[in-house]
Amino acid sequence: MRFKAAALALVAAFAVAAAGCGGGGDKEEGSAAGGGGNATQGGTLVFAGASDPVVLDGALVSDGESLRVIRQIFETLVDLKPGTLELVPHLATKWKASNGGKTWTFTIREGVKFQDGTEFNAEAVCKNFNRWFNFTGSFQNPSATYYWQTVFGGFKKTDPKSGAPEESLFKSCQATDEYTAVINLTKPSAAFLGALALSAFSMASPTAMDKYGANEGRVDADGVFHPTGSFGTKHPIGTGPFKLESWTRGDRLTLARNDDYWGEKAHLDKVIVRPIADNAARLQALQTGEIQGYDLVEPQDIKTIEGDSNLQVLDRPSFNVAYVGFNSSMPPLDKLPVRQAIAYGLDRKGVIDSFYAGRAQVATQFMPPSVPGYSDSVKKYDYDPAKAKALLEKAGLTLPVKIDFWYPTDVSRPYMPDPKRNFQAFAASLNKSGFKVVPHSAPWSPDYLGKANQGLLQVYLLGWTGDYGDPDNFVGTFFRSKQLQWGTTKHPYPSIHLGLERALAITDQEQRDEAYKKANDDIMRQLPGVPYANSKPALAFQANVKGYVPSPTTAEDFDTVYIQK
């Protein structure tokens, strides 16, 4: 039943915009780092990603590097206002919900052409949707079509072996005239609209997909899908402000400005993306000028970059949460006083102040403040070792209470740049609070993550970065269903699970927000885990790069970027 969750789990906030919003089809030029009027034209920007993209086909990827490039070449029906979670028209200029939220009529923008010269119209829209809905075989695997399955669920013919959801939110798509596309859903949903802003639902040229075999490939004997067409590697044809010029894996991917773009043309002539995996190497390349920008700056480098007048740091609005997770089925975590004692025994403020370079705040609940449903009335747990000890004693436990606390090695996450230091500080504060922490660690991928999935970790450091601005993408992901990781299969929290299921189905915006606020209050009362940080990931650029607008969901465009002389 996962599709329902994800499907309805989407941006309910955007439902406000959904109810007949329209007008103004201009691409917003909202840019925080420089005006649009006197932007210098031309030039090449070299940006460093952490690795090569996998394939330039939005429907078939879920990794950040692929999506970063895909977003420049392809566009979606609706988009996010730069730097925010607000929905705005894009390839669709107007939309209307009817039939109780089961039918969505989109007015398609006129005068848009794909980069191969073919027309973009309602028929193209439906061809894209139908392509995704009709995926078969290995395309139905979660590693291929993660976002379709999260949002819509199943496919037209779900292969029982693939384990994909049986039901689908999507029913059909019709092009009732050249510029009107009607999408029919199987269930009412005010929230599916927001999902359409994800690059996974980009509009690709049907002609190009056919010509270059976007769906072609074979499956090896070991089950790995090997694409044989060249759509996603050489001919990714979208409607966006950039087109693919060339791609040499391990070296660079070159995008060139699309001079036939329907909207405001990009300032830059070219954008080159280079894969540089090591963080120190990226920093040094920025310092020498071999690259002009990169993502995933580590906190310890921020001072160096800020101290260099040739460089600048840009903050991405916080859209993540770091937490100390519990497996509530492992004693003594099944006792509320113990969980409360841990909450009081974690020096969260100390960790934030010391290891996040001033770029984080203490998380009071399992989602960042920017997401609707954020509650100001959650129970707070300030660091109080005495109170923690008192709770444990009152619960009749002999101090110190032993707990197995896990942290990952070999990794730096945006919400948790330095796991080991976080762990050491937390362990120290817990040891002062009546606990005896037994440290454990494992390499992040796949060992640590695998163990967490399987529910093998009693107390552990983990986190989550949101995909879209809906509360279910945060708290729903953790607590709506019963999961091994949280021990909720054996030790459920009925009021929390039920509360989140109910909230998911509410279509009225205000009621939905209220329901999620209540859910957050409940979660922070019962403490299936303790959230501790909402951090702002950082990007670094040369000082003369202007016009880059960081987005909470990493929906960032290069077409507003220019290099100031």
């Binding site: 979660p142 790995v224 070296d251 995996a277 796949p446 999935n453």
Partner: protein, 336 residues
């Protein structure tokens, strides 16, 4: 000679079979699934299960191995789970970079190491000799990534003489028919691009070659010292031959045997990838490829890649053995 070569090549078969079984079992014995690498925090227990099903990872070991053997025998090394590119294509992209780096590093090590060792031997017991010892020890002891970072900081960031990352600057766009960037630049007739690729090789070669340099220097010194005291050298000197001729014709040629062995083995080692150097310099070679594959549990890459590296090492060792015959006629292998 031919029989020798053929016999050594035939040895490849049991080596590869044994290695393939070992690698196959070992990587599947590691806990965790590729699913976690593919989806990170987004993987749930359910999606991990489904991905494992897709890759047949829940089936018995012998079933998986048999499927693998059938596929490999058909010439298909499989497809990378992470990049969805065939393993053969990835090898074609990655291996040339490693070859260039390895050869550059060995060129550096040999060009400086042999003269250094030679001089140290000639000036045995003097200050020069002791200095060369200290220098060698430093070379072996300094961690490669530390040396690489220092080199980059001094020569790239501060002095701006050399580039920090990659194989070629973004200003040069040449076609890649061979994926050996030096060769590609020559084929494109672009001298500036050739020089650019060369500049990109300098710092990585020094960082990577620092240990082989130290080793080659010490071996050269030892070999020269050894040979110098041989009867035939004393005879040659007694004959009245000029010292330089003695060195060239007798000392050096005979000292080359152990030196070439060491050089050959070092080349074999370097060809299996230089993870630290590749990471620091963002050099897309075999080392980082295999290391990431381990973290990603990318089984096809590990199976195909390690087998390939094994073949390379065996062939390099064979070439080293064959070189003996060239250097010393007495060792020419006729095969009785």
């Amino acid at each position: 000679m031919l029989r020798f070569v053929v016999r050594r090549l035939l040895l490849l078969i049991p080596i590869l079979v044994g290695l393939s079984i070992l690698v196959f079992l070992w990587i599947r014995a590691l806990p965790g699934s590729p699913a976690n690498a593919l989806l990170g925090e987004r993987a749930s227990a359910e999606t991990v299960q489904r991905i494992n099903e897709q890759y047949g990872l829940n089936e018995p070991m012998y079933v998986q191995y048999w499927r693998y053997v059938k596929q490999t025998a058909g010439g298909n090394l499989g497809t990378s789970i992470t990049s969805r590119v065939s393993v053969t294509d990835e090898l074609k992209q990655r291996f040339p970079a490693t070859v260039q780096l390895a050869l550059a590093a060995m060129l550096f090590a040999v060009s400086f190491g042999i003269p250094l060792g030679f001089i140290a031997a000639k000036r045995y017991g003097t200050v020069v000799d002791h200095l060369s010892l200290i220098f060698s020890l430093i070379g072996i002891s300094i961690p490669i990534f530390f040396l690489a970072l220092i080199l980059k900081y001094v020569f790239s960031v501060k002095l701006g003489w050399l580039p920090t990352v990659g194989q070629i600057s973004v200003y040069y766009d040449i076609p890649h028919p061979t994926n050996f960037y030096l060769l590609d630049a020559l084929l494109a007739g672009d001298i500036n691009a050739f020089w650019d690729v060369f500049k990109h090789l300098i710092l990585p070669a020094i960082a990577l070659g620092s240990i082989p340099l130290a080793i080659v220097a010490r071996i050269t010194r030892a070999a020269v010292l050894d040979v110098q005291n041989e009867d035939y050298v004393r005879t040659a000197r007694a004959k009245g031959l000029a010292p330089l001729t003695v060195d060239r014709r007798h000392v050096f040629r005979n000292a080359m045997l152990p030196i070439s062995t060491v050089v050959g083995l070092q080349v074999g080692l370097l060809l299996s990838g230089a993870i630290l150097t590749e990471t620091v310099f963002a050099f897309p070679g075999i080392g980082t490829w295999l290391q990431e594959a381990i973290n990603n549990r990318d089984y096809p890459v590990l199976q195909g890649g390690i087998l390939f590296v094994a073949i390379v090492v065996v062939i390099v060792n064979l070439l080293v053995d064959l070189s003996y015959g060239l250097l010393n006629p007495r060792i020419r292998l006729a095969g009785r």
